[in-house]
């Protein structure tokens, strides 16, 4: 079942000379994990906001997200309930004075009864390993803890789609691992995920990757297929996952025959080639 059905999406920022998104098509089925990549200015963040109902398209042949019409005034507000968005800067997403207050924020906005808010906050604290930080103030949290809190806060309201806009860009490696593990866990439980990223190894988490350039989708397929298209990657100013870069260097020296994407694959391929 398609949760996101978009055809011919257009968006232009006020006062801009050009469309940020031109004629974009995107279909995402329930339970899919789709990565969205592209250089700066390709429209990735704009797409993330539109999917979250945080802006209205300039036009579209079809723009249905979770059954709501993005172009419709009521529709784009309603989308915010079903689609959660996690942004890049952990600090600028935490509203509450403590972790538990921030987790409650979204639930309070929906005017749910207090006992239910409390119950849901307890659940999220447990699920995200934040119980010990329940009354901690945001400025005393590490980057990874803040982003985990922000994610828990977004998902405290049960969502059908989670959109992430470069959520690990400002985190150290430990924080990145924490957040990616949490996202993976949610995806394994069936949450539909749209992950905007510039880190090529994060792309490997996805079933599908869509590449944007100048507001248009120029690739839609499996990550392995994308990384095989060197020319395309170059034109998009995108790189390769580290294992693929090393793999490529080795292929050029005749050590490897096939491109490997992960460290495990690379190790396996090299060990297979040796007696």
């Amino acid at each position: 079942m398609s949760l996101i059905e978009i055809r011919g999406l257009r968006y232009r920022y006020a006062g801009a000379d050009d469309d940020a998104l031109h004629d974009l098509d995107l279909t995402v089925s329930e339970g899919e994990f789709v990565a969205v990549v592209g250089a700066n200015g390709s429209g990735k963040s704009t797409l993330a906001r539109l999917l979250g109902g945080l802006a209205r398209p300039a036009g579209a042949a079809r723009a249905a997200v979770c059954g709501h019409d993005l172009c419709d005034h009521e529709g784009h507000f309603a989308v915010r309930r079903d689609v959660g968005v996690l942004f890049q800067n952990p600090d600028n997403q935490l509203v509450g004075s403590t972790v538990e207050e921030d987790l409650a924020f979204g639930l309070e906005n929906l005017a749910l009864p207090s006992p239910e808010i409390a119950r849901r906050v307890d659940e999220m604290l447990a699920l995200y390993g934040l119980e010990a930080l329940r009354t901690r103030e945001p400025h005393l949290l590490s980057g990874g803890q803040r982003q985990r809190t922000a994610l828990a806060g977004v998902l405290a309201v049960p969502r059908r789609v989670l959109v992430l806009d470069e959520p690990t860009a400002m985190l150290d490696p430990a924080g990145r691992d924490e957040v990616l593990a949490a996202v993976r866990r949610e995806a394994d439980h069936g949450l539909t995920v749209v992950f905007v990223t510039q880190e090529m190894d994060e792309v490997l988490m996805a079933d599908r990757v869509v590449a944007l350039a100048s507001g248009r989708a120029v690739f839609d397929g499996a990550p392995a297929a994308l990384f095989a298209e060197r020319a395309l990657l170059l034109s998009l100013s995108l790189g390769l996952p580290p294992a693929a870069e090393v793999g490529l260097a080795l292929m050029e020296r005749g050590v490897l025959a096939e491109l490997t994407l992960t460290l495990d694959d690379l190790v396996a391929a090299l060990q297979a080639g040796r007696p």
Binding site: R80, F87, G96, E100, F105, L107, E108, L110, H139
Partner: protein
């Protein structure tokens, strides 16, 4: 650095409904100004001290809360002592010390102390969000005049939440500019003010960007100004709150009559 510093503890004072506490402290403050007598001051002073003891907050925290007003206290005392009219027992030019001056100086200084202690009692025993909730509830009648009390309360909460973050950022920006040779301690007041431009401009820009991103994140979590919101920790008044309010009212009356 603490503005509305909260000291968590399970004391009878902590357990009171914040609305009750706000009204009680407001009543104390008003009462303090209504009547100028040492006897009344003593009543209020005793109440404030009793409240502090009941709250179990360490005296060190109270002392720290008083530190910002030390200079004002000293100034008040000295000015009143030296300039208040009354029969003098020692004169030196425009300055004259009189017993009346001493009494006034003493009274005003003590009153300031009691005032600060009373408000500290409020902020030390009430978490900031509960305080803003209480003020939002108490100012509900203003909604009839189209004042957005709920939204203002949220704004205050968010502003308080970001104060430590802003402090860290100011520190970092100052250090970064110092690394480029800037000095914030050299020169007269005009020079120092100009030296702050490389700190204030980036701070403003950071804050505007933050405001944008925060607003977006709030909308993504279904925030809508004007829409009704519930709370994780709603305010619940109990019988003990009514009792406290009655007690406070009685005290104010007592102080008036002494």
């Amino acid at each position: 650095m603490a503005i509305a510093q909260y000291y968590p503890r399970a004391s009878p004072i902590h357990r009171l409904d914040p609305r009750c506490k706000v009204v009680a402290v407001a009543a104390l403050v008003v009462g303090l100004f209504l009547r100028s007598s040492f006897a009344a001051l003593a009543v209020y002073g005793l109440v404030a001290v009793a409240g502090l003891l009941l709250s179990g907050v360490p005296l060190g925290w109270v002392a720290r809360g008083l530190r910002p007003v030390v200079w004002l206290l000293v100034l008040t005392f000295v000015v009143q002592l030296l300039f208040a009219p009354g029969p003098a027992f020692y004169t030196l030019g425009p300055l004259h010390l009189s017993l009346r001056g001493l009494a006034i100086a003493g009274y005003l200084s003590l009153r300031l102390v009691v005032l600060v202690v009373a408000s500290l009692l409020l902020t030390l025993t009430t978490p900031p969000i509960a305080l803003t909730d209480a003020l939002a509830w108490l100012s509900r009648p203003l909604r009839r005049l189209r004042v957005p009390t709920e939204e203002l309360a949220l704004m205050v909460t968010i502003a308080l939440r970001f104060i430590p973050t802003l402090m860290q950022e100011i520190d970092t920006i100052m250090k970064a500019q110092r690394a480029r040779g800037a000095s914030f301690t050299r020169g007269g007041p005009l020079r120092r003010a100009r030296a702050l431009v490389p700190v204030l401009v980036p701070l403003f820009i950071l804050s505007f960007r933050r405001a944008d991103e925060l607003a977006l994140a709030m909308e993504a979590r279904c925030y809508l100004p004007g829409a009704p919101r519930t709370r994780l920790h709603p305010l619940h008044a109990h019988r003990r709150d009514a009792v406290v309010l009655v007690l406070v009212a009685a005290l104010v009356v007592l102080a008036e009559l002494i």
